[in-house]
Amino acid sequence: MSQSAVRFIDTLEPHELASELRAWRASRPRMGVLALVAEGDGSRVPLLQSVCRDEQVPLFGAIFPALIVDDRFSSVGAWLLRIDELSYAELLPELPREAASLPSVAGSLISGVTPHLTAPEATLFLLFDAMYPRIASLLDELYLRLGNRVSYVGANAGSETFRPSPCLFDRARVAGGGVLAVVLNGHRGAVLEHGYGVPQKMITASATEGNRVITIDWRAAFDVYREVAREQYGVEVDRENFYQYGVRFPFGIVRGDGEVVVRIPVALEQDGSLFCVGEVPANSLLTLLRAPAVDSRLTVDTLLSGLADRGAQAGGDVLLYYCAGRRLYLGDEAARGELADFRRRSGAARVAGALSLGEIGSPEPGAYPAFHNAALLAAAWGGK
C-alpha cells in the first residue's frame, strides 16, 4: 500500500477508497483528505462522502473540468491529497455577492483561520467556485488583515462550460457560490506563472460590474474588443466565433509597474458586455493579450525555480493547477507535452492536479497575492 501523500483513484470504488483511507489513518490519525474530483465523476462525490463518513475521515474537496494525473489529463477519477495534520478546513457556501459584504466574509474566514495558524509559515489554501464574482476583492480584504501571515494559494473549481453547478464539498454537503478554505501549517506556498507580455495598445474598462465588463472606452465592450482584435491581431471576431477567440486573446489588466493580470472573457451578453473569469475593476487599463508563443521549457524553468525557492524537494509530490484556457489554445497534445516535461524535470514522484478556472498566487515568495487567469500554479505537497 502506498504511503505517498497523494493517491489517484480512477474507479472510485468504495472498498478501494476505504482501504486507502485506513492505511493513511493508521500512520497519521489526525489526517484529513483534500479531494480533487473530475467533472466526469462529479456524481460520485456522495459515494466519497459516504466512505469518509464511515471511516470518520475529514473530507474537503472540489470538482474540476479535468484532473492532471502525472503527465496526462483525465476527465474521470479523483485525486485524494492527504493533509497529515488537518488543523482547519471549512466550506463557506453561497457567499453574499455584493461588495459591501466583503469585510464580513473576510472577517468570518479570518476568525476561523487565525486560531489555527500554529507554524511560522503557513499557507491559506483556497478553492473557489469560479462563479463567485468577488474573488480578487476578497483576496485584497484578506491580505489587508492577514498580510504575510500566510501564503495565499488557490484555484477556481467548477465546469468548463461556466454554468453554475455545486462544485465544493465537505463530508456532508456539496455546494456552490462559495469558498473552501484550508490551513496548511508549515507549507510555503506556490509559484504562479502565466507568461503573457504587455502589447502597445491600451484601452480602458470604463464601466464594469464584478466579472462583467460593460463598456470599454465608453462603448459596448464587445464592439471595442472586436475592433482591437482586428487592428492588433488581424482576426475577425463575431458573436459566433467569440468563444474560440476569447481564450486566445484575453484581456490583460495593466498595473502601474507594467505587470499584467489576465482575464479571459468567456461569455458574451446580448448587450455587448463581456463576462470574464475574475473581476475587472472599473477604470482598469486593459490590453488585449495574445496567447504567448509557448516556450514550454521556459515555463517549466520558472515553475521549477519557484518550487525550489519554496523548499520543494526532488522526489516529492507536486500539486499542479493548469489553466483550462491554456489547454484550449495550446491543444491537448502540447499541454500533455508540458506536463510530461514538468514531471520529468521536477523529479516529482507524482504530479497531482486539475484543470482550473482561475489561479491564486504570486510569482515570487512574499509578493502581493493576485487572482489570475491563464496561469499555471505549482506547489509541493506532503513530504518526500
Binding site: P120, E121, D140, Y143, L144, L146, G147, N148, R149, Q200, M202, T204, V254, R255, G256, D257, G258, E259, P281, A282, N283, S284, L285, S362, E364, P365, G366, A367, Y368
Partner: protein
C-alpha cells in the same frame, strides 16, 4: 505607452483618493491601490510630524495603516521607530537592504527595496518589497500628483469626520431627548393622546392609553377618539374653535370606554395646537378620576357621619340631663310611695323606661365618641378567645365559627367591653345575614398602615392590629353600604334591631383611633376589617382595677359640706336634693365663677360636685382653679359627655367621675367613696375624641 499608462494610473488613483469621505478607508484604499500598481507587497502610511528617536538616525512617527506585513501591522495606531533616512526625505525609490533591516518584519524574506511617497503636510507613505521593482516608470514621480491630492483629501476627510461627528452627536442628543420624553410620556399615569382635529382619529398616544383602554396600538390607531370618549366629539369642535379664538383648553369630565365594555370616569383636558403650520392637532390628557371620586365619596360619608355624631352627642347630652332629673325624681317618688301602693308600679315603669332610654343614649354617645371610656392594654386574641363559647350560642349551630389568631399579636389600648360589643354587634349582623347557615370567620393580625391609607382614613400611619370579621351571608348592596354606619339605619324588619349596632361599632373604632373597612357584594358575603392602633410601650396601667379603690360605702350618707355646680336647673335641683337627703350640707352654683366666689366667701367645702360641660367656665377649668385655691377639697365630675378629652387621673388625687344619668343611690355612694378615700387617687379616666 508610458504616457497612456501614467494617465490611466493617475486617473485610477484619482478615483480612489476622491471617492472617500472618511480617513481610514481613504488611507487603506489608497495604499492598497498603490501596492497594486507597484507590486510592492508591503505598505504603510505614517501620519504626523516625526519626532527625534533615541538614536540620531532614527525618528519616531505614528503608524496609521500597514498592509502586508503581519508584524508591522501589529504596530498600527501606535508610534513606530524607523530609520530617519527611510522615513524622511523627498520622493524616491532605492534598494537598501541594510536600511530596511531596521523595519519590523515578519517572515524570513528580508526587504530589499523601498519606495517613499511624501504626503505634504501630513506624513509619508512607504512601500517595501523583497526584490527590486521591474517598473519601467519612475514610480516616485508618477505618484506625486496623487500624493498632493491625498494631502487635500486627508484634510477634507478630517473636516468631514468632525462635521459628521458633530451631526451624529446632535442627532443622538436629539434622539435621546425624544426617547427620554417618550419614556416620560409613557410612564405618565395619565392617558395622553394626540388626535387629528379634523378627523378625530388618534395620531399617537402613550403606553398608558393602551393599558388603560385595553386596546393594542394598531386598534387604537384605527379608532376615532370619540369611540373611546364620546364627549370628545363635541369637545373637539370646541377646542378647534378655541384655537382659532385664542382659547387653548377645554376641560371636562367624561366616561372613558374600555375595549371590554367597562368604563371609568376621567378628567379630560383637551388642548388644540398646530405644529409647523400643519392642520390642527389636539392633545388630550385624561386623568382617571376613579380614585378621587372614591375618596370624595368616603370623605362625604365621613363628614356625614361626623355631623350625625355631633347631633347625636348633643341630643344625648341634653337627654342625659333630663334622664338624671327623671331618675332622681323617680327615686324620690319611690321613697315616698309605699310598697303596695297602686302608684308604685307606675313609678317603677317610669324608672324602667328611663333606664332603657339611658341605655339608648349611651349607645348614641358611643357612636358620637363622647362616652367616657376606661381604656386598658388589651390582647385582641384573648378577647376573641373569651367570647367563643358565647358567640357559638349567639350564632347557632348552622353557622360555622372559625377563629384564626394572629401570630405574636401586638396589644391595643381599648375598652375590653367595647371590643366585645364590636364583635357581638358584627356577629349578630352576620348571623342575620346567614339564615340558612354559613361561616363566620374572625381573624387577627399585625399590619402596617402606610401614609396614603392613613391619610385616606384620617388616622396616623404606623403599626396596627387587624380584626377581620367575615361572613358568607347575603352581602350588601352599594346603597346599603352607603348608609351602613348611620344611627337608626337598619335593613332589618321593624322591631328586630335598633339601627345602632354598626354605628356603635363605628364610634368605638373611631374613638380608639382606628378605622374600619367594609367589603361586600350581594350574595358574596361581607368582610369587615377593623384596624386598631398598636398600643405604644408596655403600659399595663389599668389592665386590672385600680389599686386602693375602696369598696362602695355600706351606708352612703354624710354630713360634710358639698358645693354643687350645675348649669341645668333640673339636674341641679335633683342632685342637690339627693345630696341633702343623704345628710350633706349643699351649696348650689350655676356656673364656675359663682362656685369659686361661694367657696372664697365661706369655708371651703369638703367636696365639689361639678358638671363638666358648662357655659363660661367648663368643669375642667373650674377644677384646676378650685384645686389651686382649695387643695384639700375633693372633687366629683358629673357628665353625660365632655367636649374636651381629658384624663381625670391627670387632675390629681381626690378627683372622681360619675357618668350621667345616674341614680341618686349611685351619686350617694360615689360621694361617700370620694370623701372616705385617703391617699388614693381615682382610677384613670379618659375621654378620647
Amino acid at each position: 505607452v508610458n504616457a497612456e499608462l501614467i494617465t490611466a494610473v493617475l486617473y485610477d488613483m484619482a478615483l480612489v483618493v476622491g471617492g472617500e469621505l472618511t480617513l481610514r478607508p481613504l488611507l487603506v484604499k489608497t495604499l492598497q491601490r498603490l501596492m497594486y500598481h507597484t507590486s510592492f507587497p508591503v505598505g504603510m502610511v505614517l501620519l504626523g510630524a516625526p519626532r527625534a528617536g533615541p538614536a540620531e538616525d532614527e525618528i519616531e512617527t505614528r503608524l496609521e495603516v500597514a498592509i502586508g506585513d503581519f508584524e508591522l501591522s501589529a504596530h498600527a495606531g501606535a508610534n513606530l521607530l524607523l530609520p530617519r533616512a527611510l522615513a524622511v526625505g523627498p520622493p524616491g525609490m532605492a534598494d537598501d537592504p541594510a536600511l530596511l533591516a531596521k523595519v519590523p518584519r515578519s517572515g524570513s524574506l528580508p526587504y530589499t527595496t523601498w519606495l517613499r511617497l511624501p504626503v505634504e503636510g501630513e506624513g509619508v507613505i512607504l512601500l517595501l518589497a523583497h526584490r527590486a521593482s521591474r517598473a519601467r516608470l519612475p514610480l516616485d514621480r508618477v505618484f506625486q500628483p496623487v500624493m498632493a491630492n491625498l494631502a487635500r483629501a486627508i484634510t477634507l476627510c478630517r473636516h468631514h469626520e468632525a462635521y459628521t461627528a458633530g451631526l451624529v452627536a446632535e442627532r443622538d442628543a436629539a434622539r435621546m431627548g425624544l426617547e427620554r420624553f417618550r419614556a416620560a410620556i409613557d410612564t405618565s399615569a395619565d392617558v395622553i393622546a394626540v388626535v387629528d382635529a379634523a378627523t378625530g382619529r388618534f395620531v399617537d398616544f402613550n403606553a398608558t392609553a393602551q393599558s388603560a383602554l385595553g386596546y393594542s396600538r394598531a386598534e387604537l390607531l384605527a379608532l376615532r377618539s370619540s369611540d373611546v370618549v364620546p364627549e370628545l366629539e363635541t369637545a373637539r369642535e370646541q377646542a378647534v374653535a378655541g384655537l382659532l379664538g385664542g382659547k387653548r383648553d377645554v376641560t371636562f369630565e367624561a366616561l372613558h370606554h374600555r375595549k371590554d365594555g367597562s368604563t371609568f370616569p376621567a378628567e379630560v383636558r383637551l388642548t388644540a395646537f398646530s405644529c409647523h403650520g400643519e392642520q390642527p392637532l389636539l392633545i388630550a390628557v385624561s386623568r382617571d378620576a376613579t380614585a378621587r371620586k372614591g375618596i370624595e365619596q368616603q370623605l362625604q360619608q365621613s363628614q356625614k357621619l361626623e355631623s350625625i355624631a355631633r347631633l347625636a352627642g348633643g341630643v344625648a347630652h341634653d337627654f342625659n340631663n333630663l334622664l338624671t332629673a327623671i331618675l332622681g325624681g323617680v327615686d324620690v317618688l319611690l321613697e315616698r310611695v309605699a310598697p303596695g301602693d297602686p302608684l308604685r308600679e307606675g313609678v317603677q315603669e317610669i324608672e324602667d323606661a328611663a333606664r332603657r332610654a339611658a341605655a339608648l343614649t349611651r349607645q348614641l354617645l358611643v357612636f358620637s365618641r363622647k362616652e367616657v371610656v376606661q381604656p386598658v392594654l388589651v390582647d385582641l386574641d384573648e378577647v376573641v378567645a373569651g367570647m367563643v363559647r358565647m358567640l357559638r350560642r349567639l350564632i347557632g349551630e348552622d353557622i360555622e365559627l372559625v377563629t384564626t389568631p394572629g401570630a405574636a399579636l401586638r396589644r391595643v389600648r381599648a375598652d375590653p367591653g367595647q371590643l366585645e360589643q364590636i364583635i357581638v354587634n358584627l356577629a349578630v349582623n352576620a348571623r342575620d345575614a346567614m339564615p340558612g347557615g354559613g361561616r363566620l370567620a374572625l381573624e387577627t393580625g399585625n399590619v402596617a398602615v402606610d401614609a396614603e391609607t392613613a391619610r385616606l382614613h384620617g388616622v396616623s400611619a404606623g403599626r396596627y392590629v387587624l380584626l377581620a370579621i367575615s361572613d358568607t351571608g347575603c352581602g350588601m348592596s352599594p346603597e346599603t353600604q352607603a348608609h351602613l354606619f348611620e344611627p337608626f339605619f337598619t335593613t332589618k324588619e321593624r322591631g328586630k334591631g335598633t339601627g345602632l349596632g354598626l354605628s356603635t361599632v363605628y364610634g368605638i373604632v373611631k374613638q380608639s383611633g382606628g378605622y374600619i373597612q367594609v367589603a361586600s357584594r350581594p350574595g358574596r358575603g361581607t368582610h369587615f376589617r377593623i384596624y386598631l392602633p398598636e398600643a405604644e410601650g408596655d403600659d399595663a396601667r389599668a389592665a386590672a382595677p385600680a389599686p386602693g379603690t375602696p369598696p362602695a360605702a355600706a351606708v352612703a350618707r354624710g354630713s360634710e359640706a358639698v358645693l354643687l355646680v350645675e348649669d341645668d336647673p333640673l339636674v341641679r335641683r335633683v342632685t342637690a336634693r339627693t345630696l341633702r337627703a343623704s345628710g350633706y350640707a349643699v351649696l348650689e352654683a350655676t356656673e364656675g365663677g359663682e362656685a369659686l366666689r361661694l367657696a372664697r366667701e365661706g369655708a371651703p367645702p369638703d367636696l365639689l360636685v361639678t358638671d363638666v360641660v358648662m357655659p363660661h367656665m367648663g368643669g375642667e377649668a373650674l377644677v384646676a382653679r378650685f384645686r389651686a385655691e382649695h387643695p384639700d377639697t375633693r372633687i366629683l365630675l358629673i357628665s353625660g359627655y365632655t367636649d374636651h378629652g381629658f384624663d381625670v387621673a391627670s387632675l390629681g388625687e381626690g378627683v372622681g367621675f360619675l357618668q350621667k344619668p345616674f341614680a341618686p343611690a349611685a351619686l350617694a355612694r360615689k360621694v361617700r367613696e370620694l370623701l372616705d378615700r385617703r391617699g388614693a387617687g381615682p382610677a384613670p379616666l379618659r375621654v378620647v375624641r
